[in-house]
C-alpha cells in the first residue's frame, strides 16, 4: 500500500488508526500541515487529495491508498512560490502563520470547486456560473479559522489569485 505525497511515493502506516495528518507530520516529518483541533473544526490540517481539499485530521492515512496528496510543502515549484503563497506575503494574509498552510491549500481547493460550478450557501443563482465575489470567498473559506485575525489579508490574497486566474 502506498500513497503519493507531493509526487513522492510513501509507504502507508501499519497502524490503521493513524490519521493522514499525523502520518504527514510525525512519520514523514512534513510538519507544514498543521494540527489545530484534530476534530475537523479549524481547517488548519487542510491538504489537497487529487486536487480536492480535505481535512487530514478526519482522514485515516490507509484510506488514501493509491491517492495523490499535495501539501503546503508541494506548492512551490523549483524554488518559486505558488502565486497564492506570494499573494499571502504581499497582503499580509497571516500573523503567526499557523493557520496559513491550511488557508492556502483550502483556497486552492475552493477555487477548483467553484470552477466546477459548486454552489455555496450565498450563491444566489444556482444555474449560473459561480462568480467568486468577496462574500463567496468569505463563505467558502469559513471552515478555515484564524485566531490572529488575518481574515482581511487572506481574502485579499485569494481574491488576487482568483482575479489572475480569470484574466488568464
Amino acid at each position: 500500500m502506498s500513497i503519493s505525497i507531493n509526487g513522492a511515493l510513501a509507504e502507508l502506516p501499519q497502524d490503521p488508526r493513524v490519521s493522514l495528518l499525523d502520518f504527514l507530520r510525525e512519520d514523514l516529518h512534513l510538519a507544514g500541515t498543521k494540527k489545530g483541533c484534530n476534530q475537523g473544526a479549524c481547517g488548519a490540517c487542510t491538504v489537497l487529495v487529487d486536487g480536492e481539499r480535505i481535512l487530514s485530521c478526519l482522514a485515516l492515512a490507509v484510506q488514501y491508498d493509491g491517492r495523490a496528496v499535495t501539501t503546503i510543502e508541494g506548492l512551490a515549484e523549483g524554488g518559486v512560490l505558488h502565486p497564492l503563497q506570494q499573494a499571502f506575503i504581499e497582503h499580509d494574509g497571516f500573523q503567526c502563520g499557523y493557520c496559513t498552510p491550511g488557508q492556502i491549500c483550502s483556497a486552492i481547493g475552493m477555487a477548483t470547486e467553484a470552477r466546477r460550478g459548486a454552489a455555496s450557501h450565498v450563491t444566489a443563482d444556482l444555474t449560473a456560473a459561480v462568480t467568486l465575489s468577496r462574500e463567496e470567498l468569505q463563505e467558502r473559506m469559513s471552515g478555515n479559522l484564524c485566531r490572529c485575525g488575518a481574515h482581511n489579508g487572506i481574502i485579499d490574497a485569494i481574491g488576487e489569485m482568483v482575479a489572475a486566474e480569470l484574466a488568464a
Binding site: 497502524d15 488508526r17 493513524v18 499525523d22 507530520r25 510525525e26 516529518h29 512534513l30 510538519a31 507544514g32 500541515t33 498543521k34 494540527k35 489545530g36 483541533c37 484534530n38 476534530q39 475537523g40 473544526a41 479549524c42 488548519a44 501539501t71 503546503i72 510543502e73 506548492l75 512551490a76 512560490l81 503563497q85 506570494q86 499571502f88 506575503i89 504581499e90 499580509d92 497571516f94 500573523q95 503567526c96 502563520g97 499557523y98 493557520c99 496559513t100 498552510p101 492556502i104 468577496r134 470567498l137 468569505q138 463563505e139 469559513s142 471552515g143 478555515n144 479559522l145 484564524c146 485566531r147 490572529c148 485575525g149 488575518a150 481574515h151 482581511n152 489579508g153 487572506i154 481574502i155
Partner: protein, 777 residues
C-alpha cells in the same frame, strides 16, 4: 551664480543629504528634559514603511518549525488524563490496563512522578512563570475540574491516546465553590494587581453621583473567554547531559527557563527553552502544567517527549479570561461634564493564582471627573487558574465604561463623540501625571470623518433595510504603554558588514522579527538584509516578556543600549589612525555601514575598515536596557476611536457587523503592514467577544462544557468585514522610536462599539456579553 557658488552649493547639498540619513545615537534614558530618540525625526528611512514579514516565505511554505515539530531521535508521545471533579482527593487510580497497552513506555501519576518543587507563581518574582501556587502531580489533591491526573508515554500518539482512555479514577470529593452566587456569598476580597490595590477614591463619588442632575448607573457582565490560538499548546522536551531542553510555544522563554530550573533543582544555565515561532499567544502561551509534566515524564522514561494538548486539553489545562460583573455609574451636568465616575465590581479567581482581571485600568486615565470611585474585588471559585488574555482589564473594562458613556450620551441628548471630547482630561485624572502623548481628539475627528459618523441618526431604530435594522456606534480604545525592566540585547557586528542582533523576545505573529530588523538596520546604518535578528531562546541574555504590549519598547531600549556600547567599542578599536580618532559615541552617527562624525560627515570610516585595522573578525556588545524611568514621569497610554456599523435582523435577532473602523493614536508606527494586521487582529477578537465568545462553565461541577472550536465560537471569514484602520502616527517623544506597543489595544473598545451600534439600530441596550440573538428577540 558663480562656478564657485555652484560647487559650494553642491557640496552643501551633499552634506545635507548625508545629514538626512545620518542619525545620532539614541539617548540612554527617557526623563523630563531628555532628548527624544533621533529616529523619531527621521522621516525617510525604513521606519514606518509597509514591509512584508521577513519570515513570510517560510510561513507560507510550511517551513517555519513550531514547538511540536522538532524531530528528536527515540522520542515518545504523551497523552494526559484529567480529573472530573472540582475539588477533593483521588481515591483510586487504576493504571494497570494502560501500562499493559501496546507501545506504552510509562504511566506517570502522583505515585511515581519525580519529586518536584512547586513552580514559583507568576508575579512572585521577575523570573517566576508558574501558573498557580500549586505542586504539580505531587499528591492526591484535586484543585480544579480538568486537572491532569496521569501522563501516558507511548511509542506513538495513537498508542498513548488509547492507553490514556484505559485509566480509571475514583475520587473522594470535597465541597467546592463552583457557582458565582456561592462565591459572592463567601464575600469578595480587595483586588491586588502587580502588588498595587485596584482601588482609587477621589472625592465623594457616591454623594456627587446622587447630587448630579443626570445619572447613569448600570451593571455590565462579561463571561469567561478562552484564548483559542490555533496552534495547540505543545512542547518537545529532552534531557541532555543532565540539562533540560524544551522546545516550546512560549511568550516568556527566560522566565520559563528560570522557573523550570527551580522546579527541577537545576542551575538556570542547565535549562534551555526555545520558542522560535508561536502559533498565536494572546497571553495563553505561558508556563502551564503540561511542560512540567512532559519534562518529568521524559526524565522518568529517559526518552525525549513530545507533548501536545488536545483541543479539549487546552481548555482543561490552560486558563483564560475570567468573568466579571461591573457597575458603572456616571453623574453629569447638563452640558455633559462628569461630576462622578464610579467603576467597580468583581472578577472571579481561583484560590491559587492572583489575576484579578483589572477592568478599571482604562478608567483611571480615560476621562476627567470631579470625583472617582474605582475598585476591583475578587471572589474565589474552585476552577483552573484564570490568566492574562489580550488586554486583560481594558478589553472587558472598556465594554462597561464605554457602554455607560453611550447611555449617558442618550440621557443628555449629546453626541457620544462630543461627550467624550468634553470630558477629555488635561492630565491623568487619577495619578495627576502629565500624559506623555495623547492625541485622541485627533483620532476621533479623523475617524468620524472617514467613517461618515455625521450620517448617523441619534434616534434608534430609524434606519431599516427590509428585515434589517442598521445602526452605528463608537467607543474609546485604550491600553497603557509598558516597558518592563530586564531586557537586554546583544549585537555582533562582523567584518563582512553584517550584524546579528539577539534578543530573548518572541514572534507570535506580531511582526516582532521584522520590525526589530528594521529598527536595528536603521540604527546601525545597514541595509535590512545585512541584519539578522535572533530571538525566542533563553540562552540569549536578558528577559523580554511578550506581554503587556511591551515587547517593542523593551527591545527598542535594549537595542539602543547595545548600540551605544557597540559604537563605543568601535571607536576604541578605530584608534588613532582612524579619521574618527578621539571622537566619543555622542559625536558620531551610523550610516552606510560605518561611523560618521555628526557635524563633519567627511570624517567617516566603515565598520569593515575599523575591524580590518584592528584585525578583528567581529565586535560584540551586549547591554541591558536602561530602567523604564519614563513610566514614573508620565502617564503613558495608547488610544483609539472605534467605529462600528451593525445590521440586526428583526426576525432572527442576528447581528452582522457590516463596517468597522479603528482610528488609532499609538505613537509612531514602525511597520505599516504588520501594524495594520495587529490592529485588525485585535478588533476581530473584539468582534468575537462582542457577539459570540463565551466559555460555558457548568456551575454544578466546575467543568467547562464547550471545550472545542465547534462549540466555542470565534469569528470566521464570513463574520469579518473589511476593517479599516488609520492612525495619527504622532510619535511619543518619551519612548524608544516614539513607538507604543500595539498588540492589545485593538481588542479594547470593540465590544462597546458593537453594543452601542446595536442600541442605535434597535433601541435595545445589551449589558451582558456576548450579544447573541436570544438577547435581541
Amino acid at each position: 551664480m558663480s562656478i564657485l557658488d555652484a560647487a559650494k552649493g553642491a557640496a552643501q547639498a551633499t552634506i545635507q543629504a548625508a545629514m538626512g540619513k545620518l542619525v545620532p545615537l539614541a539617548p540612554d534614558s527617557w526623563i523630563p528634559g531628555g532628548i527624544p530618540d533621533p529616529l523619531i525625526r527621521r522621516q525617510h528611512g525604513v521606519i514606518g514603511a509597509a514591509l512584508s514579514r521577513l519570515d513570510g516565505p517560510l510561513k507560507v511554505q510550511g517551513a517555519a518549525r513550531f514547538a511540536a515539530e522538532f524531530p528528536l531521535d527515540d522520542m515518545v508521545y504523551a497523552a494526559l488524563a484529567y480529573a472530573t471533579i472540582p475539588r477533593g482527593r483521588i481515591a483510586g487510580l487504576d493504571v494497570a490496563a494502560a501500562e499493559a497497552a501496546p507501545g506504552v513506555v510509562l504511566v506517570m501519576t502522583h505515585h511515581n512522578a519525580p519529586r518536584m518543587n512547586q513552580p514559583a507563581v507568576f508575579g512572585s518574582s521577575p523570573e517566576a512563570a508558574g501558573p498557580a501556587d500549586l505542586p504539580i502531580m505531587q499528591d492526591d489533591r484535586i484543585h480544579w475540574n480538568g486537572q491532569p491526573i496521569a501522563v501516558v508515554l507511548a511509542e506513538t500518539q495513537e498508542q498513548a491516546d488509547h492507553a490514556v482512555s484505559l485509566i480509571g479514577a475514583t475520587y473522594a470529593p470535597e465541597p467546592a465553590t463552583t457557582s458565582l452566587a456561592a462565591a459572592k456569598a463567601a464575600g469578595p476580597q480587595p483586588g491586588l494587581f502587580m502588588g498595587q490595590p485596584l482601588r482609587n477614591e477621589i472625592g465623594d463619588a457616591e454623594a456627587m453621583l446622587a447630587a448630579a442632575p443626570h445619572r447613569v448607573d448600570q451593571l455590565y457582565r462579561t463571561p469567561r473567554h478562552n484564548h483559542n490560538a490555533i496552534e495547540l499548546h505543545g512542547a518537545t522536551i529532552a534531557w541532555i547531559d543532565g540539562g533540560l531542553v524544551v522546545h516550546d510555544a512560549s511568550q516568556l522563554v527566560s522566565a520559563e527557563a528560570a522557573t523550570l530550573a527551580g522546579v527541577f533543582d537545576l542551575d538556570v544555565a542547565q535549562v534551555r527553552v526555545t520558542s522560535p515561532y508561536v502559533g498565536g499567544g494572546f497571553g495563553g502561551k505561558c508556563l502551564w502544567d503540561h511542560q512540567i509534566l512532559g519534562a518529568a515524564a521524559a526524565r522518568l522514561a529517559a526518552r525525549p517527549v513530545r507533548i501536545v494538548l488536545s483541543r479539549e486539553g487546552v481548555y482543561r489545562g490552560v486558563g483564560g479570561r475570567t468573568l466579571t460583573e461591573q457597575r458603572v455609574a456616571i453623574g453629569a451636568e447638563a452640558d455633559g461634564r462628569f461630576r462622578a465616575l464610579i467603576h467597580s465590581g468583581i472578577a472571579a479567581m481561583s484560590p491559587h493564582n492572583n489575576m484579578p482581571e483589572p477592568f478599571i485600568l482604562g478608567t483611571r486615565s480615560g476621562y476627567a471627573a470631579d470625583s472617582f470611585s474605582l475598585s476591583v474585588e475578587t471572589v474565589t471559585m474552585n476552577m483552573l487558574a484564570n490568566t492574562f488574555m489580550r488586554a486583560p482589564g481594558e478589553s472587558v473594562g472598556t465594554f462597561a465604561l464605554e457602554s455607560a458613556i453611550d447611555e449617558m450620551a442618550v440621557e443628555l441628548g449629546i453626541d457620544p463623540i462630543a461627550l467624550r471630547i468634553r470630558n477629555e482630561p488635561d492630565k491623568d485624572p487619577t495619578s495627576g501625571l502629565p500624559f506623555s502623548s495623547r492625541d485622541i481628539v485627533e483620532a476621533w475627528r479623523a475617524g468620524a470623518d472617514r467613517f461618515g459618523w455625521a450620517q448617523r441618526s441619534a434616534t434608534p431604530g430609524t434606519r431599516r433595510e427590509g428585515e434589517w435594522l442598521i445602526g452605528m456606534g463608537c467607543a474609546t480604545a485604550t491600553y497603557p504603554y509598558y516597558r518592563m525592566p530586564g531586557a537586554a540585547a546583544r549585537i555582533t557586528l562582523g567584518r563582512d558588514g553584517k550584524a546579528v542582533v539577539e534578543v530573548a523576545a518572541h514572534e507570535m505573529g506580531m511582526g516582532t522579527a521584522t520590525t526589530t530588523t528594521m529598527v536595528a538596520a536603521e540604527r546601525l546604518g545597514l541595509p535590512i538584509d545585512a541584519v539578522e535578528v535572533r530571538y525566542g531562546d533563553s540562552i540569549i541574555p536578558g528577559a523580554i516578556l511578550a506581554g503587556g504590549s511591551q515587547q517593542t519598547a523593551a527591545i527598542g531600549a535594549a537595542v539602543i543600549a547595545a548600540h551605544r556600547a557597540l559604537v563605543a567599542d568601535l571607536l576604541k578599536l578605530a584608534g588613532n589612525d582612524s579619521p574618527l580618532a578621539g571622537l566619543s559615541a555622542d559625536e558620531v552617527g551610523c550610516e552606510d555601514g560605518g561611523l560618521v562624525k555628526l557635524d563633519e560627515p567627511t570624517r567617516r570610516e566603515s565598520y569593515a575598515s575599523i575591524l580590518d585595522r584592528a584585525q578583528r573578525e567581529t565586535v560584540v556588545a551586549a547591554e541591558e536596557a536602561s530602567p523604564p524611568l519614563e513610566l514614573m514621569h508620565w502617564s503613558m497610554h495608547s488610544h483609539g476611536a472605534m467605529f462600528c456599523e451593525v445590521r440586526v435582523n428583526t426576525v432572527t435577532g442576528e447581528t452582522r457587523v457590516s463596517r468597522f473602523l479603528g482610528s488609532f493614536d499609538c505613537g509612531r508606527i514602525l511597520n505599516a503592514k504588520t501594524a495594520r494586521s495587529q490592529f485588525r487582529g485585535g478588533i476581530i477578537m473584539g468582534l468575537g467577544m462582542a457577539l459570540m465568545e463565551e466559555t460555558q462553565f457548568d456551575e454544578r461541577n466546575g467543568r467547562i462544557m464547550n471545550p472545542s472550536l465547534s462549540e466555542y465560537h470565534i469569528p470566521v471569514h464570513r463574520d469579518v468585514p473589511e476593517i479599516d484602520v488609520i492612525w495619527t502616527d504622532i510619535a511619543d517623544p518619551h519612548t524608544p522610536m516614539g513607538a507604543h506597543g500595539i498588540g492589545e489595544i485593538g481588542i479594547t473598545g470593540v465590544a462597546a462599539a458593537v453594543a452601542n451600534a446595536v442600541y442605535n439600530a434597535t433601541g435595545k441596550r445589551i449589558r451582558d456579553l456576548p450579544i447573541t440573538l436570544d438577547k435581541l428577540l
